[in-house]
């Protein structure tokens, strides 16, 4: 990966007396070092990718501290890495995007939780829930409950988030239980500051090696009969120890209120939104001092029965503000109060919406109902007016607009090598008929949006090929599975390729070999072209993914015989290859590799290279595409075949032509797709390619002048 985190790496070195300024996820990263973490692993995914990216780039410093950093091949391997803490007093942290990553890791998590840990184990998950999130179904909370893991949901202010990392490790050790630290999207990206402490080099580390492995201890195996005892330990010893620690160290925060008759229990991560909602009722000030007491749960699993009961006792009613469904926390609180015979009325999902993000407005709507029922003396008129004004404003604007605003989903980058493959797929389907397309996770899933609209299912990362196994035998035409190289290595090789080969499935697999896990921030994988190749390549524009054959070698080794590699920009060639795969008499698995390096990575090489050449006054050729506005008739079929951000529309400039014409705007990287499509699809002849030669040589200049002279004689104005 070519993104540089040099500034962030520098921040990791900060010590006591210094102030850290930056994003939440990087504050967590720094907190890991302050807690003396010995090993770190994970699998990239928004919104927690930066944790691992920065650690990987800080390799030298990590070696200095003796910390082991591992970019794992998937979340299961990351979770399994925590096995180091079962026997050894090693603090370990792993990270991934939840709930998808937690699903992948579930097997290892379950068997990690059973024997428990002696070294603190922390799993930092990006709880990808709410606006801008890509995986909003299910809660990590369920995993914590079913595997008896601790779940931390810190109040989203950097000092508190850092505190919860340090306490998280201690808590994990105090009750021999791995802990999950969940961060919502906005908390990962929140920009704030905290006072640093010195980093702590771990006692046992890459620099301080232990002489002997731990003794054999059957009780540390997640294997029967040990598991039967471990189940008892979880409930009889570990969770009670956790509860004791939570209370003793004050992990959950109680913010006192001016009146005690009602109260609110909130997940730590939602505290700020709750305070802002209370402010709409004039029930809290800018500093969070509220009219009613608030219990902010920085630890949402396990709950401490006595703490809950103490908070509720003497109150008429308590509102539980808990995001996501179902309402695990609220149900547990209700049980606790019932058992302890505390007769406080409990509200939550009966007044607040069941699913979806708890924004300030959503919380305020629930608060309103709660106050009307239990605090009739509180004036809610102001908040009511505000909510009504919001609703009215939206209604009025919708009327003024008359039509819904078009959505703007993400799309392939300008120059993305995956776009031409889907152009070819569109053309191929025009010839052979529509095919069932099993889509996958990754940049290529942007083909599910317009102008392509490709993909019948998305079952999981690397699972496209597996997900068509039941479909393709039922269809007359062959089904297609699309997979990225990221998905191939994460999971696809085993769940898809091996299974299809073993069952001799008649299947077509299209692998997007762009060299990186691009959608998560272009992290390197085993098939990434190596640094030396990049450094020595003369033409930096060139795609270099063809230099690494790991995918091809693996496929051949496992027994794939029908294997075609097609440069992704050869639209017509790709169309023909797809058509062949769909129609050939050859049975079994057919794999097409679309080869083209991620454009983001190429641009990161190209930009400084070109800038350097220009600065030195050397010859540089820049390529751009264009559309002749007077030749374009404005039917936009080129756009329906490409969707490139820089291929757009403008007024025709011709008073006779009403419809806008196509145009290529600045930002075109000259990838060549416009020309390829014009040829492959026999589009209109309005596309042209321009090569702009800067600092041309003398011979070139003379030839050009001569040409222009002669052409000038024949020209029509």
């Amino acid at each position: 990966m070519e993104v540089s985190f040099s500034r962030e790496v520098e921040q990791l070195r900060q010590g006591a007396g210094e102030t850290f300024h930056g994003e939440g996820i990087l504050a967590i990263t720094k907190a890991l070092l302050q807690s003396g973490v010995a090993y770190v692993g994970g699998y990239q995914g928004a919104p927690v990718s930066h944790l691992l990216d920065v650690m990987v780039q800080a390799g030298d410093y990590m070696a200095e501290l003796g910390v082991q950093v591992e970019a794992c091949s998937n979340e299961a391997s990351a979770a399994a890495m925590l096995g180091a803490s079962i026997h050894y007093p090693l603090r370990g942290a792993v990270t991934w995007k939840s709930v998808v990553g937690t699903n992948v890791a579930a097997d290892a998590l379950s068997n990690l939780a059973s024997p428990g840990v002696v070294g603190g184990a922390l799993i930092v998950v990006g709880e990808d829930y709410g606006e801008g999130a890509s995986v909003i179904q299910e809660r990590t909370h369920a995993f914590a409950m079913k595997s008896s893991l601790l779940l931390l949901d810190p109040r989203p202010q950097l000092p508190n988030m850092v505190r919860m990392v340090e306490h998280g490790f201690q808590l994990s050790e105090a009750c021999n239980t791995p802990a999950i630290l969940q961060l919502r999207v906005r908390a990962c990206h929140v920009r704030g500051s905290f006072e640093c402490a010195d980093n702590r080099a771990p006692a046992m580390s890459r620099k301080a090696l232990r002489d002997e492995p731990a003794n054999f201890d059957y009780e540390k195996l997640a294997h029967p009969p040990a598991t039967f005892r471990q189940e008892k330990l979880k409930t009889d010893q570990r969770l009670p120890a956790a509860r004791r620690f939570i209370v003793e160290r004050g992990l959950n925060e109680i913010f006192a209120g001016k009146r005690e008759d009602i109260g609110i229990i909130v997940q730590g991560g939602l505290h700020n939104a709750l305070v802002r909602a209370l402010q709409q009722f004039n029930l809290a000030d800018a500093f969070g001092d509220a009219e009613f007491p608030i219990l902010a749960l920085n630890v949402t699993y396990p709950l401490v029965s006595e703490q809950i009961a103490d908070f509720c006792r003497g109150k008429r009613a308590v509102l539980v503000v808990e995001e996501g469904q179902p309402e695990f926390i609220e149900q547990e609180i209700a049980t606790v109060l019932r058992r302890m015979d505390v007769n406080t009325a409990i509200h939550g999902k009966d007044l607040l919406q069941m699913a979806g993000e708890y924004t300030v407005e959503v919380i305020a709507q629930g608060l309103l109902k709660f106050l009307v029922r239990h605090a009739a003396d509180v004036s809610v008129a102001g908040a009511q007016d505000w909510l009504a004004a919001n609703a009215m404003r939206r209604k009025v604007v919708a009327e003024q607009l008359a039509a819904p605003l078009p959505p703007r989903p993400p799309q392939f980058c300008t120059g993305c090598p995956e776009r031409p493959v889907f152009s070819a797929l569109k053309l191929a389907q025009q010839n052979v008929g529509p095919v069932h397309i099993a889509a996958d996770i990754g940049c290529h899933s942007f083909a599910t949006f317009e102008p392509f609209g490709f993909g019948h299912t998305i079952l999981g990362y690397g699972m496209s090929l597996a997900s068509r196994a039941g479909v393709s035998p039922m269809l007359k035409r062959r089904a297609l599975a699309v997979m990225g190289d990221g998905g191939f290595w994460h999971n696809g090789l085993l769940t898809g390729v091996e299974s299809a080969l073993f069952n001799n499935d008649d299947a077509v697999l299209l692998i997007m070999k762009n060299g990186y896990t691009s959608a998560t921030g272009t992290q390197d994988i085993i098939s990434t072209p190596d640094d030396e190749t990049k450094a020595t390549a003369e033409n930096k524009h060139q795609s270099l993914v063809d230099r690494n054959h790991t995918i091809e070698d693996t496929l051949k080794g496992i027994g794939v015989t029908w294997l075609r590699t097609v440069p992704s920009y050869e639209v017509d060639g790709m169309r023909r290859t797809l058509e062949e795969a769909f129609t050939t008499d050859v049975g079994g698995l057919k794999v097409i590799i679309a080869e083209g390096e991620c454009q983001l990575e190429r641009q990161r090489r190209v930009k400084p290279w070109l800038a350097g050449l220009l600065k030195a006054g050397k010859r540089v050729v820049r390529v751009k595409y264009g559309v002749d506005e007077d030749v374009c008739s404005g039917d936009h079929s080129c756009i329906r075949l490409s969707g490139c951000p820089t291929l757009t529309l403008k007024d025709s400039g011709d008073p006779l032509k009403l419809d806008p014409v196509a145009t290529v705007i600045d930002g075109c990287v000259g990838c060549g797709l416009c020309g390829e499509n014009a040829h492959a699809a026999t589009l209109c002849p309005s596309f042209y390619r321009v090569d702009i030669v800067q600092n041309p040589g003398l011979g070139e200049r003379l030839l050009s002048a001569l040409r222009r002279g002669i052409i000038g004689m024949f020209r029509k104005s």
């Binding site: 300024h21 606006e131 700020n272 604007v397 006779l656 032509k657 002849p685 040409r707 002669i710």
Partner: protein
């Protein structure tokens, strides 16, 4: 200023525009001035040119004034509680308005006057662009104050990115209690592309200040004389005689309109719009026309300018052509053309692709240029060619249908006249367009004006023609005939080797 309330700033940007840097700068600005500040964002999958937002809160009191108390800041914007909204794109500003964030009581709205079109707007065969005027009206009537200027264009002129421009506009808005120099100091301290950023910042400052004082109503452009323009286009396309034919046809439209609307209540709209599309249709794009347009000196100048070539740069132009037998046949007389087309239909029955040669023609080279001029000089052949005859026949058919329809009512004639807008595109697209028009003329010209309009709008809305078929059925007309396609046999997956 309410010291109990943070100053709230919502930024709408597209992935890749530097919105993250802008949020970082705003926090940096506040911290340097001693104010608590917080920013959040939701990059997520919006990273790739999708719509995204950034949210910043700055406490109006300094840390010193607060004396150790920490304000609790919200991670997400609150509807109706945004002091300043800055958008790098007009539709995204309006999206935030629709989501309820911007209020007439509180929000100063800075937005680009320009659009970056969404894919949904671009892929419509007709004009799918959202009405910008309406967006501007919504922006103006739903904010406390509005300032619009071309953010992207300003960034381009200054050689920087939209984030620096928006930073300048935010400074100029006066919503934040910081001096201009404090903003510029943050840019200087950032250390990357400082000069360009400061240039963009300065230009944005000026433009935003001007826009804040400007109501900004643009007078409508006068309507040009379309018949004169059309006549000139057709003469240029062929010759004076062809121009004469154009005028005769326009005269028929005019006569039809006068019969239907003797008082001129519609101000000659049928004639004007009919003349518009007739001219475009008569000057149809064949190889001769394309070669002519591609070899004009004005074209070379335009290409240089669009490519941003500087004096001294050499510009090479490669045109993407794929002439096929069908194009060639179009220039030949019917009998000869039929022989070529017979080859094509044989290939088609066998499931082979049409014969065509993909060429990248260097229009700036001698041979390439002369070839273009040679093709352009084949204008004389056109009149005897098959394509010419075909187009004239369909034009006549449409024209008579318009006349007949107008005799039943002005609206009927007008709606049918507008249907000539369908004719565009090349090759298969053009063929399909003509089929659509022919079908409408055949089955709807005797029907209701509303049905004709609906069918036309449907035909321009989607390429596959699903909407058109639906509109046709709703009007009681038969859907377009299903086109024959060669059958391809694919061995089924079950039969293993």
């Amino acid at each position: 200023m309410n010291t109990n309330q943070p100053i709230t700033i919502l930024i709408a940007a597209l992935g890749g525009e530097g919105g993250g840097v802008l949020a970082e700068w705003l926090v940096e600005l506040a911290i340097r001035a001693g104010h608590p500040a917080q920013a959040t964002s939701i990059p997520g999958v919006a990273q790739r040119t999708g719509a995204t937002t950034y949210y910043v809160e700055i406490h109006p009191q300094t840390v010193e004034e607060l004396g150790g108390r920490n304000p609790v800041m919200s991670l997400s914007p609150v509807p109706g509680c945004v002091d300043l909204m800055a958008a790098s794109e007009l539709l995204e500003a309006v999206r935030a308005i629709q989501n309820g964030f911007v209020s007439r009581e509180r929000t100063l709205l800075l937005t680009s006057s320009q659009r970056t079109l969404t894919t949904f707007e671009k892929l419509v065969p007709g004009d799918g662009r959202f009405d910008s005027q309406r967006l501007l009206e919504v922006a103006a009537s739903n904010s406390r104050q509005l300032a619009t200027f071309d953010v992207e264009g300003t960034a381009r002129t200054a050689g920087t990115v939209p984030s620096a421009v928006l930073f300048g506009a935010i400074a100029a808005s006066g919503v934040l209690p910081f001096e201009r120099s404090a903003f510029e100091e943050v840019i200087r301290a950032s250390g990357r592309g400082v000069e360009a950023s400061l240039r963009g910042f300065g230009m944005a400052w000026e433009r935003c200040r001007a826009a804040l004082g400007d109501a900004g109503a643009v007078p409508p452009a006068p309507t040009p004389d379309l018949v004169a323009l059309g006549h000139a286009r057709v003469v240029e396309f062929q010759d004076a005689a062809y121009g004469e034919l154009y005028l005769q046809r326009v005269a028929r439209l005019r006569a039809a309109e006068q019969g239907a609307d003797p008082q001129g209540r519609h101000a000659g709209a049928l004639t004007r719009e009919g003349a518009r599309f007739l001219a475009l249709w008569m000057a149809f794009d064949d190889v001769v026309r394309v070669a002519d347009l591609k070899s004009r000196s004005s074209r070379f100048a335009r290409v240089r300018a669009e490519a941003g070539a500087k004096p001294g740069d050499i510009v090479r132009i490669a045109d993407h052509f794929k002439p096929g037998l069908a194009e060639l046949a179009g220039l030949l007389p019917e009998s000869l053309a039929q022989r070529l087309l017979a080859i094509e239909s044989r290939r088609w029955r066998n499931g082979d692709p049409p014969l065509a040669i993909a060429v990248k023609l260097r229009a700036d080279s001698l041979s390439g240029f002369l070839l273009l001029r040679l093709m352009a000089s084949l204008r004389g052949m056109r009149r005897r060619g098959r394509r010419y005859a075909e187009e004239q026949a369909l034009i006549e058919r449409w024209l008579s249908a318009v006349e007949a329809a107008a005799s039943r009512g002005w609206e009927h004639g007008f709606e049918l006249a507008l249907c000539a807008r369908l004719i565009k595109g090349y090759g298969a697209t053009n063929e399909r367009a003509r089929e659509d028009l022919r079908h409408i003329v055949e089955h709807l010209s005797g029907g209701d004006a509303v049905d004709i309009r609906r069918a036309r709008e449907a035909a321009l809305a989607d390429e596959a023609g699903t909407a058109l078929d639906l509109a046709l059925r709703q009007a009681g007309a038969p859907p377009r005939p299903i086109r024959a396609v060669p059958v391809k046999w694919i061995r089924h997956a079950r039969s293993r080797q």
